[in-house]
């Protein structure tokens, strides 16, 4: 269709790429799965509650089933005992999917440099956004959510074109 014919139809028609349209819809309706294990999980409650209100970003449909979610929020310390569970949850999420590592512990183990704490969840699963803080303020969470929304705009519909986190290997991947 030529551009002139579109103009003749006025503003009743919108032309775009399918990828762009789907990504636009997806980025404003993220379905998070909150893997809240510790203090950051409590602060995530504030993210969801009235004052900060995650639904302003279209991400209020918090799922507890990984199979229904496309955004994994790891909020809290991950111990070696917890690691295989986190990995399983991540694997159960359908593509495309993103991961936010919320707070110092999830990012790097925080000040728990000891026998039980995984020194950053990126040793197990790929991470898209790291949020500093112990715990981070809700505003910091929203900033990274907005960055994920930006990132999701590069997503492709066909599986084979997808480059996101390809070839990641953590210590639980045999």
């Amino acid at each position: 269709m030529g551009l002139e014919e579109e103009l003749s139809l006025g503003d009743s028609v919108l032309v775009t790429k399918l990828d762009t349209a789907v990504n636009w819809a997806r980025s404003y309706s993220m379905w998070p799965m909150v893997f809240g294990t510790a203090c950051c999980g409590i602060e995530f409650m504030s993210v969801a509650a009235s004052k900060h209100d995650i639904s302003r970003f279209g991400a209020e449909v918090v799922r507890f089933s990984p199979r229904q979610a496309d955004l994994l929020v790891v909020a809290g310390t991950i111990s070696y005992k917890q690691a295989p569970i986190l990995k399983k949850i991540y694997d159960q999420m359908p593509e495309p999917k993103w991961v936010i590592s919320m707070g110092a512990c999830a990012c790097s183990g925080g000040f728990y440099d000891n026998y039980t704490t995984v020194q950053g969840i990126d040793e197990i699963i790929p991470v898209d956004e790291y949020i500093a803080g112990c715990p981070p303020r809700p505003e910091a969470f929203f900033e990274s959510l907005m960055r994920i929304q930006e990132k999701s705009k590069d997503e492709r519909l066909s599986q084979k074109d997808r480059q996101h986190n390809k070839g990641f290997k953590g210590f639980l991947d045999a």
């Binding site: 295989p84 026998y115 112990c134």
Partner: protein, 541 residues
């Protein structure tokens, strides 16, 4: 200050404990822990000692029973048949120190995972020695005997995992349930998914550096943990903190208690299907966070106290702001109650559900609101008053049935009592310093640090070497939001503790949970869990 310590040989351990329970009414086992005396100065006895901390039925006295463990066998007799609470307590000592309790029904690791090697709290265990866990246990080794005991075949029941990642598990608790229809035939609780090595970390940090770690025990009321730890160390130092510091600790502590109860009740309402209450209750909580972040610099993990006092004084306008928080809290309680107090669905789902009996609660070491809901008026603020709590006018709130309804209402009413305590404290707030001027404990003022060599050395020594606590062992407890929060500290005289053990109130409540939900309905078990306020940071440490 000193505790009453009763040293016994391991042959006499059981008879001593039985005698204390039967004859002297020490009805509650508060905690079991061990000390590894390797590298401890001037120690020539056995390497390990195990301590049992008991409380009597008046709740005013505690006693420590200490026994040295024979180095060649590392074995002690179990007391899990005497106190229900000893079951998990002994498992933890086995896990962390490798001490074997003969006759224990299920002596296996509790905090560390099943592929873990070694015992991390032994002094010769390197703190960064990590072990990867590749898969989760199936827990059938614990479930099979339970089923057999109840006369079930394995294929007669349906096995259901609730947790460790489950919306109703409030963190990281895992319950394996054997279901017969909708009824729970038997249950096994597994914890340790948030074990973060609190006690080991304490052994490599100075006393003041430990305060941020205590924040993250019960992160819903961080300041109450700060207070509990600092109070224990201050009592070991025999230092009296200024009155103003005490009053501010009371105010901020009670504010933390309000927020802790708010989280518990709000989450409980969500689990019952009432999301609106959650929004109502969380609004003033966020307001309180703003006050706390102005005062301490952090919303959640405040690290507000210091050994000997506090880090900052109140800011200008604090009184008005806290009054506004209290006012909105009162309104939120009214709003929430107006939705549930006479709601038939709510009453049917909470009354006579998840009942905890008094004897069982005491035997299992359940304290705090969960114990008070059964009708036992035990509150450390009344029974062993500290920080002038005996001069404040407040009630110990008790329930009558020990069911979910009572636990929720006890928490709501305690929030109202705490509001009243805060108002009284603000009214009678004394002036003066907020931290002791004992220069062996608190940092000197900055003009002295930068203006004189003595001041600078003073600061340097305190920061690098830490506050030197006299050699000895001491247990002290405060009333935290979940109950009796105790700290057992062993000092070798240096600025770093030889050992710190936290007595986490909800560890023992969770240990009893599987018994409480037996023969109840699955949906009720979920709400029972929410009403008992299990905080992973606290029971897993």
């Amino acid at each position: 200050m000193h505790n009453k310590v009763h040293e016994v040989s391991f042959e006499k351990l059981r008879e001593t404990i039985i005698a204390l329970k039967e004859n002297e009414d020490f009805s509650m086992l508060l905690d079991i822990t061990a000390t590894d005396y390797l590298y401890y100065p001037d120690h020539d006895q056995a390497r390990f000692a195990v301590v049992y901390i008991l409380r009597d039925s008046t709740f005013k006295n505690e006693i420590i029973v200490k026994t040295m463990v024979d180095d060649s066998t590392l074995t002690l007799p179990t007391i899990s048949d005497i106190y229900e609470a000893a079951n998990w307590g002994e498992r933890e000592v086995f896990d962390q120190y490798g001490i074997i309790f003969e006759g224990h029904p299920n002596l296996k690791r509790i905090l560390n995972h099943h592929q873990f090697e070694g015992h991390p709290l032994r002094k010769d265990y390197e703190i960064t020695d990590r072990h990867i866990c590749t898969h989760t246990e199936d827990l059938m080794d614990e479930m099979r005997p339970l089923l057999k005991q109840k006369g079930y075949e394995e294929d007669e029941v349906m096995l259901l995992n609730v947790g460790p990642s489950h919306p109703a598990s409030h963190g990281t608790i895992r319950n394996l349930l054997a279901m017969e229809g909708e009824t729970i035939a038997s249950a096994v609780t597994e914890i340790g998914y948030l074990h973060r090595g609190f006690e080991k970390a304490c052994e490599t940090h100075t006393y003041n550096q430990i305060i941020p770690y205590t924040d993250r025990l019960n992160y819903c009321s961080a300041i109450l943990n700060n207070i509990g730890f600092c109070k224990t160390v201050e009592e070991m130092l025999e230092v009296e903190i200024p009155d103003r510091a005490k009053f501010i600790r009371v105010i901020i502590g009670e504010l933390s208690r309000i927020m802790d109860h708010a989280v518990c009740n709000a989450a409980n309402c969500v689990d019952l299907g009432g999301l609106t209450n959650f929004w109502y209750i969380f609004n003033p909580r966020d307001e309180a966070y703003e006050v706390l972040s102005k005062l301490t610099g952090a919303r959640l993990t405040n690290s507000y106290t210091r050994i000997g006092g506090l880090s900052y004084d109140l800011y200008d306008g604090f009184e008005e702001e806290i009054e506004s928080v209290l006012h909105s809290t009162e309104k939120s309680i009214d709003d929430a109650l107006s939705l549930i107090a006479r709601n038939k669905i709510f009453l049917d789902r909470t009354q006579d559900v998840g009942v905890i009996k008094q004897d069982f609660a005491i035997n299992s070491g359940i304290t705090g609101p969960n114990l008070r809901a059964t009708g036992i008026a035990h509150d450390m603020r009344k029974d062993k008053p500290y920080y002038y709590y005996d001069s404040f006018d407040f009630d110990v709130v008790v329930g009558s049935h020990g069911d979910i309804y009572d636990r929720m209402m006890v928490r709501f009413e305690e929030m109202i009592q705490s509001i009243s305590i805060i108002r009284q404290a603000i009214k009678n707030m004394p002036g003066g310093a907020i931290i002791t001027d004992n220069r062996a404990i608190s940092l000197p003022p900055k003009d002295q640090v930068y203006g004189s060599i003595e001041g600078m050395m003073n600061q340097f020594k305190l920061v690098f070497e830490g506050v030197k606590v006299p050699k000895g062992e001491y247990y002290s407890a405060t009333e935290a939001a979940n109950g009796e929060l105790g700290f057992y500290v062993v000092s070798d005289g240096s600025g770093t503790p030889h050992k710190v053990k936290c007595r986490p109130p909800c560890f023992y409540a969770l240990g009893a949970y599987s018994k409480i939900i037996e023969n109840t309905m699955l949906a009720d078990a979920i709400v029972t869990m929410a009403s008992m306020n299990f905080i992973a940071g606290e029971f897993d440490r």
